[in-house]
Amino acid sequence: MTTNSRPRRQRRSPWLAIFFWVVMGITFVPIIVMMLYSFNNAPTSRITFAWNGFTTYWYRNLTQVNGLTHAFLISLEVAILSSLISVIVGTPVALALGRFRFWGKGPINAIVFADIAAPAIVVGAASLSFFLSINLNTGLITILIAHVAFNIAYVVVVVRARLSGMDSAIEDAARDLGANAWTTFTKVTLPLIWPGLLAAFLLAFAMSVDDYVITSFIAGSTVTFPLFVYGAAKVGLPPQVLCFGTLIFLVGLIVALANGALNRHQLARATTEDSLAAPAQPQPVSSS
């Protein structure tokens, strides 16, 4: 941290790098422990501190724990549905904010901002208050409604960012050439923003599948994966939870890497195409 105040005195001082990697190392501890202990040959069906040897028993008996698999499937279902709905519903909002000037733009921006900034505990408690006052029984439906409500904001932000990085002159050109709004959208805008839609879907999926605080209020008797884990954490986790955690981690990592590769591919193609028409954006020069 001392490097913080005088980062440029010694240009290649190693302290910044050391600090970075030490902190990174600490943040990897829970990941490594989770993976390691998912293979621990524990004598009971709760994770134990002692290392009893390597086994794949818990992976082979992944679905053995009562309620865990069901909770996982519920989470998956909620995440897929809520991300899908929020992309479908949120993308038009992003289009409105990114492509039009209109009265009400400010308030919508403010709601999107508040939706992201609002503390989960307040949103959860308020949602429960709301569902109680309109006599809607809490359960899968209320989870879905609330997840879409917080995911729309993330979708709007991600898609709007993608739109602002896109030249709207292309859309004007399409309209000048006689395309109507719908054709312009499907033939021009949509193909250009779909990586943004994919990124928005993935972000929404991740936020939904991992949400504990808001869901805890409005789940009723429905148990999602985070709710199950939280309940089990009080008495000791079954090793299968760590197996699920490890599998989610690996799938998430693969999807992120694939998405990154896709974006790089797109970017590379876009810049080679752009360079034919217009000079490329000046790249920031690395100072070190």
Partner: protein, 305 residues
């Protein structure tokens, strides 16, 4: 669903009516905006209404405009809600400050000290812990830091600490967990702000004979203010309301307002109490963040998210 929201096809030659020309943004934002209005904004207001109801879990609650609930909770209460609030704010402030001190050098390292091709991989590493479920990764810390966990047993073996030394159940454990869970939220915005700085400005500063320290304090730090602001916003708000870290890593002495809201709603079913607490929390956070935004004023808030 989106197809209905798009302006319908029309012959290109006909001049669209005023309504046609001006209504598209409203049609486009109708469903999404309506959803947020109905299931986010109105619930926040309904929290206030529920807090003014009286009754009990058995016979139900009716709206009696009982404003006294607020004075009851903070002045004449058996349960020290005020203490929970102050404790949560303390955790929030400590976590935010320490997160800045840890995240800034990390973001600086990625922005200024590594070549372009290594930036994305390092950002992915910073985000890596997000690929583990929030509750699992927090519980893994309680597993690692427990009395029989390997950190404390190692410290015992090395005779570095006394036998009654413990980490879990302390405020430091909760703050540590909060920092761990929120660090990427601080690193990312600061990194984005640092990356946006035009490197020529730094060269100009050096050409004008400022030393490394001056370049940092006078140029880099002020230019990354928006990033710090966004990080503070995300981390502070998340930490103050969080019930998970204080519950899994803390003990009796670390009970926070987030846990109080959760318990009074879900365990004790005191809907009015829970709603009142969450309304107060929202107002307090709103005031703090507004004051912070006014004092350290940055440009358009919406541009930060």
């Amino acid at each position: 669903m989106s197809t209905d929201l798009i302006e319908p096809a029309r012959p290109a030659y006909r001049q669209p009516s005023w309504l046609r020309r001006h209504s598209p943004p409203y049609w486009l934002s109708l469903v999404g905006g309506g959803w947020m209005l109905l299931f986010f904004l109105i619930p926040l207001a309904s929290g206030l209404i529920v807090s003014l109801e009286t009754g009990n879990p058995v016979s139900g609650y009716t709206l009696t405009w009982n404003w006294h609930i607020y004075s009851q909770l903070f002045v004449h209460s058996d349960i020290p809600y005020m203490t929970f609030f102050i404790r949560s704010l303390y955790y929030g402030i400590a976590t935010t400050i320490l997160s800045i001190l840890i995240a800034y050098p990390m973001a600086y390292f990625i922005a200024f000290r590594v070549s372009v091709r290594w930036k994305s991989p390092l950002i992915l590493l910073v985000l890596l812990s997000f690929f583990v479920s929030f509750v699992i990764r927090t519980d893994m810390w309680s597993f690692v830091l427990a009395q029989q966990g390997f950190v404390i047993t190692t410290l015992h073996k090395l005779h570095l600490v006394s036998s009654n030394f413990h980490i879990l159940g302390t405020s430091n454990a909760v703050i540590g967990g909060d920092i761990y869970n929120n660090l990427p939220f601080m690193v990312l915005p600061i990194y984005v702000a640092l990356e946006r700085i035009d490197r020529r400005i730094l060269e100009a500063a050096r050409d004008l004979y400022s030393n490394g320290r001056q370049v940092f304090v006078r140029v880099v730090l002020p230019l990354s203010r928006a990033g710090i602001f966004a990080g503070v916003l995300l981390v502070f708000i998340t930490t103050v309301g969080d019930p998970v870290n204080s519950s899994l890593l803390g003990g009796v002495g670390t009970y926070t307002i987030g846990q109080a809201i959760q318990d009074s709603y879900l365990t004790n079913q005191q809907f009015n109490v829970a709603a009142a607490l969450s309304t107060v929390l929202m107002v307090i956070l709103g005031i703090i963040m507004f004051a912070y935004a006014t004092i350290f004023g940055t440009e358009n808030l919406e541009n930060l998210v």
